[in-house]
């Protein structure tokens, strides 16, 4: 009976509208935040930050973005890699041109730039639906990557088209570049992700979120009750791209430190993020995190266990690794097509009834 809301009466709608109406959920969240911002920074070593935590956080942000578009608004997109590139190159140009603005504002500006681009490429969604749209967004993917690869201006005419993130500080602490202490990088990303995850949750439970879901579930009916498809879809594209753009900015500036468009933002990037939200759970903020965690950690985990643990040779390990991932994906989908997030909810339901299941 650890998890039950009986006895928790809500005497106002505002209580009921609260983010986590059930007390236990609130405690869980506090615990998570505590771990994220206090425990992890104390424990995490460089390997954990650079190899696991940073990619996890950054992909979570990207997944959040895509989930808004695909999970909530039902528009499947495979342009994520391209949009991340927009964010990355925007922040690069800005960092070189206006370092005085400070890193976080620059990241947010890059987000807005990406939002604009995303909205532009969202226009076809007004006519094209389903997988047709999905494949059509690949046009964005390939075009954007080509653009950044071709136009010298984006890379400040670097001979090879590589961009390297110049060192920047926040509150006097380095947060980009090789000298930056891992913990600083981690805290920066964690903070941004936490804030915007909250924002996403708010949007999702508000009017905009409902309109998105209405379009997703039955666009015709939605239009007939006064949801403007144009506004709903484009706003979804804009918000989604905003998130993905910021993710791209952090991905390049904080995590990788240098990037080349053709490799760092290729089509696999788009697929990876899409997998994350499907496995994690479409239309679920929590799902975005679970999906990212799964696809970031699982491969490394398998690799470490096999290679370091059992001394399997790297090639075989890599092959087994990819097969295992594949099998796990299928297994998950069979067990719970609605993703890890749903599994979590079911688990909670169980706990709610336990030990008296009736």
């Amino acid at each position: 009976m650890i998890y039950r809301e009986t006895g928790q009466f809500k005497d106002s709608y505002s209580d009921d509208q609260a983010l986590f109406p059930i007390a236990q959920d609130r405690y869980v969240i506090y615990a998570v935040l505590f771990v994220t911002f206090v425990v992890v920074p104390m424990l995490a070593n460089e390997y954990w930050v650079n190899a696991i935590l940073l990619p996890f956080l950054i992909y979570s942000l990207a997944a959040l973005g895509l989930n808004i578009l695909t999970g909530y608004c039902g528009q499947v997109s495979l342009g994520t890699g391209g949009f991340m590139a927009v964010g990355a190159f925007s922040v690069y140009k800005l960092m070189v041109a206006f370092p005085e603005l400070g890193f976080i504002p620059l990241v947010i500006i890059s987000g807005f730039i990406t939002a604009a681009v995303g909205t532009l490429f969202g226009l076809p969604s007004l006519r094209i639906k389903g997988f047709y749209l999905a494949v059509a967004t690949l046009a964005a993917q390939f075009f954007l990557v080509w653009l950044f690869n071709k136009v010298g201006w984006f890379v400040n005419y670097n001979a090879t088209g590589m961009i390297t993130s110049p060192p920047m500080t926040l509150f006097g602490v380095l947060i980009t570049g090789p000298q930056a202490p891992p913990v600083a990088k981690y805290l920066l990303c964690a903070t941004i992700v936490a804030i915007f995850a909250l924002a996403a949750k708010n949007l999702a439970r508000g009017r905009l979120g409902r309109n998105w879901m209405a379009i997703r579930d039955m666009d015709i009916a939605a239009e007939l009750i006064g949801v403007r498809p144009l506004m709903a879809k484009l706003s979804a594209f804009a918000v989604s791209s905003f998130y993905i753009g910021m993710a791209g900015a952090l991905y390049f500036a904080v995590w990788l430190g240098s990037a080349e468009p053709t490799e760092a933002f290729d089509i696999n990037q788009s697929f990876l993020v899409l997998f994350m939200i499907i496995i994690g759970g479409l239309g679920s903020v929590l799902g975005s995190f679970l999906g990212a965690a799964f696809l970031v950690i699982m491969p490394i985990l398998l690799k470490n266990i096999m290679v370091d643990g059992f001394g399997t040779n790297t090639a075989l390990a890599a092959h087994i690794e990819i097969m295992t991932i594949g099998v796990l994906i299928i297994a998950f989908l069979i067990v719970e097509p609605h993703g890890l997030a749903r599994l979590w909810r079911i688990a909670k339901e169980k706990m709610r009834l336990w030990p008296f299941p009736y």
Partner: protein, 263 residues
């Protein structure tokens, strides 16, 4: 309900509307009006063009010929959301709820047009946005009480039994506080008591909120009890238009419609 409380102010007038899909005539020169505050029934056999008529009224279909005059302004085309924003709401023949969302959210979506705060406030979920959400939650809760569906407030509608889904859909339409409410077979596939409940709701809506209602229904007894006036369609043509009594008496109608079995 009865003739005397029937105002004469016309809310909506349909004039000589024709609609065809690739040669097939769905509507052919249909003309009738709906008066403020009345319950107007549209009947006819399957494929008579009843649903098409509603779709024309709220702008989902665009008639090739004819005009629609709503609240004094005449037009022959408008986008559905414009219709909605001018106070036309509707329910659907085969339920068109947002299956992934809870009852409450469905109804809140219905209030979409009443809500104005912008993205940024919503993202913060404080100040105006929060206030707005709460106000509209209040309103939504009224409808929930009115339809007596408190129990399923948080349930995803996809899993609800048919009768309840119909009810939620009505709720979603009411949430918009419409002037004109279009009901497309609100009682299809219901058992007799569910039908009774539904009829009661419709009448209450009409009386309490003074909402004008246009309804399509097959069940003659229901139609005859509920409606103030009835228009009969058959294969897109307008067969008759009048008070329930007159329709009941109308020979043509009896032959064309009441005669034949309707399923």
């Amino acid at each position: 309900m009865t003739i005397d409380n029937l105002s004469t102010e016309v809310l909506l007038r349909v004039e000589d509307v024709s609609l065809n899909f690739g040669g097939v005539k769905a509507l052919d020169g249909v003309s009738f009006d709906i008066r403020k505050g009345e319950i107007r029934a549209i009947i006819g056999p399957n494929g008579a063009g009843k649903s098409s008529m509603l779709n024309v009224i709220n702008g989902f279909y665009h008639p090739q010929r004819g005009t629609i005059t709503y609240k004094g302004q005449t037009r022959n085309q408008m986008r559905p959301y414009q219709a909605a924003s001018q106070g036309i709401a509707r329910t659907f023949q085969n339920i068109a709820l947002f299956k992934g969302m809870s009852t409450l959210d469905n109804i809140m979506t219905g209030r979409n047009l009443k809500m104005k705060t912008n993205l940024f406030w919503q993202a913060l979920y404080i100040g105006p946005a929060r206030k707005e959400e709460l106000e509209n939650r209040e309103a939504a809760e009224h409808i929930i009480d009115f339809l007596d569906i408190q129990a399923i407030r948080k349930k995803p509608v996809g899993k609800l039994p048919y009768g309840l889904q119909k009810r939620v859909e009505l709720g979603r339409a009411l949430a918009a506080e419409p002037e004109l409410l279009l009901l497309d077979e609100p009682m299809a596939g219901m058992n007799s008591e569910e039908k009774e409940d539904m009829s009661r709701f419709i009448i209450d809506v009409n009386l309490e909120f003074g909402t004008t209602i246009a309804l399509i229904e097959h069940d003659m007894s229901v139609v005859m009890d509920l409606s103030d006036r009835i228009v009969v369609l058959d294969y897109g043509r307008q067969l008759a238009d009048g008070l329930p009594g007159e329709i009941r008496a109308n020979k043509e109608v009896i032959e064309a419609y009441l005669g034949v079995s309707h399923d």
